[in-house]
Point group: C2
Chain length 103, copies 2
């Protein structure tokens, strides 16, 4: 089964980026309890004060989909939703391997 990668931009409501990034960092910390999530990195974009860039790598697409229905994830989504103005550059990719992930 192929790995599943998702990289993309979340645009926060004006002035809400740091609050959104903090929730996403909590979500990233929560992924320590989710073995089939290999990478969940939260980044800022220097030239875009309202944007957060998320990089995810999962063992497979099904694991990613299943994680969205976890209670903790649903709670995070509910907290984050009002802070999100939109999404952009959502790239679904198939990680072949490399440094920082299990083949």
């Amino acid at each position: 089964m192929s790995k599943f990668g998702l990289s993309g931009k979340m645009i926060a409501q004006p002035g809400k980026r740091d609050e959104l990034a903090a929730i996403l960092m909590e979500a990233a910390a929560g992924m320590d309890a989710v073995p089939d999530c290999q990478i969940y990195v939260v980044s800022l974009l220097p030239e875009e004060p309202d944007a957060v860039w998320i990089t995810e790598v999962w063992d497979n697409a099904e694991a990613h989909r299943a994680s969205l229905s976890l209670e903790e994830t649903q709670a995070m989504i509910a907290r984050a939703k009002p802070l999100i103005a939109g999404f952009d550059q959502q790239v679904k990719h198939v990680p072949l391997g490399g440094k920082g992930m299990r083949a």
Copy 2:
């Protein structure tokens, strides 16, 4: 010093994606000897048969810059160059942290 992230698409010459991806996977394996490279993941894009998606996270921008002048990197670039038709969606980002990287 901020972390440095780079995510983006490399477009291969028609029919050369797999050859390019193989060189990039070699480059990723070479990063095991480069401690300040935390993540170097090579991915395919299901809907784009000529594209490779690269995800990099480095301890800082200087480390990334310095790596480009390593002999091994220069040799890889020379091998890959004729296979590359272009670049797209190059996103420079500042990783705050998360799963799969050192804070």
